[in-house]
Symmetry: C3
């Protein structure tokens, strides 16, 4: 179950078979600014551009100057903030994409040709984003070159984060502001990265790992647990760097999979303490 992500080709093709005016029975019409298909229940700002070949599903909301490129599918009830540019990408349902986000542009790949010139390596694949994903303002996610760039369900990403081409990110991850994931890195499920954590290209991190803010991961992490530092090393005893970090505290509860009734009590406590000083 690849994070319940919509197959890009099938969905677009299915709608385009209809008459030029879109598939009226299925409730899809052609958007006048760009010619892409949108469901009648979607709310699209008049200045938004939905290119020919793109599809916007039920109850999606697109803000001013949003730009949806041709090879893109926007799932149902997705909210997209103004001036966001999305191309070569499928986005699942119930996602929130904030202002100025750039998804699906070329990854950073070059090689040297016979004459010693730097030549661009083709970047022709896509970005696949699951359901209930949130992506912060001005964050950038590049399209794939040798495999798609993938982000799993329920993963939340903060502002000004860089995600390089071919990166695979699992479900229920939390990436704080200014995190940087270099090309072809692989990250499991339930991984929490504090502010500005850096992950090196082609490195892999298993599920249920937490990294303290400003850590740099230079080699594979093969064991769940808490890590920090540059290069990142495993933390044996509980580290104050995590203790007060409310995001990591949240992940802590998911990681331990404490029985629900205990959680209920903990969550209430957490909400009370967060009212004072979250």
């Amino acid at each position: 179950d690849m994070c319940g992500i919509m197959m890009l080709g099938k969905d677009v093709h299915d709608l385009l078979e209809t008459s030029s005016g879109g598939n009226v029975e299925k409730g899809f019409l052609r958007w006048r600014n760009g010619g892409g298909m949108y469901h009648r229940s979607a709310l699209i700002d008049s200045s938004a551009l939905v290119e020919f070949g793109a599809v916007v599903h039920q109850e999606a909301i697109l803000g001013a100057e949003v730009h949806i490129g041709s090879n893109t599918v926007i799932g149902s009830s997705v909210k997209i903030g103004p001036s966001t540019k999305i191309g070569n990408c499928s986005i699942g349902d119930l996602c929130v994409i904030h202002n100025g986000v750039c998804i699906g542009q070329d990854g950073f790949g070059f090689y040297v040709d016979d004459n010693g010139n730097m030549v661009k390596k083709p970047q022709t694949l896509n970005v696949k984003i699951g359901n209930r994903v949130e992506i912060g303002a001005n964050t950038c996610i590049d399209r794939g070159s040798w495999r798609d760039t993938v982000i799993g369900d329920d993963t939340k990403i903060d502002n000004l984060v860089q995600i390089g081409h071919n990166v695979i990110i699992g479900k229920c991850c939390l990436f704080c502001g200014q995190v940087g994931i270099a090309g072809s890195a692989e990250i499991g499920d339930f991984v929490a990265l504090g502010g500005r954590v850096a992950v090196r290209d082609h490195v892999s991190i298993v599920s249920k790992v937490r990294l303290a803010a400003n850590s740099c991961v230079t080699k594979n992490i093969t064991e769940p647990g808490d890590y920090g530092g540059f290069p990142a090393y495993k933390k044996t005893e509980p580290d104050s760097a995590f203790a007060s970090d409310k995001h990591c505290f949240i992940l802590q509860k998911i990681l331990i999979q404490v029985p629900i009734h205990q959680w209920r009590r903990q969550i209430v406590e957490a909400q009370i303490s967060s009212k004072r000083k979250p």
Copy 2:
């Protein structure tokens, strides 16, 4: 004196009481793209969107594709560069907001519900920016969740800076490029942060502190002075990291509050030396 920031509610309400065409005597009219109010002396690009409930004051200048959200007040003589998205925010007078800036989008806050799902914590408060503030290109400032995010008068912020929700920043601060301030941090007046300084969530820094580029503040700083390193520690003797940093040199003069006539001489010297190699 909360940095002389306009009370959001009163100002908007005061104008909206007028006839649908806006308050002609006070010189306010309704902007045709979005329905917000603007003063006749303001210069607004035709492609800019000023939503219903927003107010743009005298002699403000809004560039192409600027997007002003409904719950927002733009002070007089504020300059806003193209493709800037501002919502849930009051901006004082004489500010300069550069291209691609995102202000007032949701902060990064989640909690775990009874079923172990990551749920978004409501982000319903505002951003309050004082007078004569400058904010660099593609910088992101999140709205508050349990208190407003606040930036004091005369504070200058460079490009690609991240300011999390609930952060409070004082007056006359200088934040260089790619600085990151995590949620709920508190920073006093006259604080200079070199390039890419990171401040941890819920940490506080007193007034008149300077931090060398790339430092990471992991605990409260309670004494004015120069700091650097990861974690940041107090620098006893003058540090070359600051010596040549012209921004810190500027702050140095404000910090010491040298009598004006001495400053006049120093400023002239600074301007002569900056002509050669600022």
Copy 3:
């Protein structure tokens, strides 16, 4: 040979002498949204703004909501992604500028006036970008204050990079994601900066230098070679930080200037190995 960059003044003046309708013989017409000049072979999205005084040359492609400021020249066959803001800048031929890039806004420069107030230092010069340069999404490049900001031919810059005012960058450089170059730094040719490398203001780096990801350059680098760490130091033996970094491997081949026939074999090997795990 200043990277074959077009003299801004001459080129614009030459076209504007023509009749108000543009220089028909030379194939230039006036763009209806903003009044700037464009070559008839250029493809410009209807929502793009080309201000009066700007020039867009043959076969350039401008995406939706691109904003070209008055004092700007766009070379031939340049591709510019949506919502990109470019002003006070000349761009050579065959460049690729991705989504959300901000070029030519004011640099970050302030001084203290007689009354101890922070006052903005005039930022009136330009950005000059050579030929075949690529610039990643949401990257920011500031205009100069005491000299132009310059980027040489064939240099490739990734997403979310910050380049301060007055910076000079040579040819054939590679800057990975989230790199930060502070104001007035000078960087030679064939320099590779791994992800998030930081270079301090007024520092210079000679040609043929490679820096490992997350390094911080605090003083001049006067010798070609591999460097890493904070502060960056010279690496004597080959460092794994570089070994697997495919960008550095690319630069390695240019740096050594291995005879072409050897390269041909190496390039074929590189392409085979990159097919498996580039």
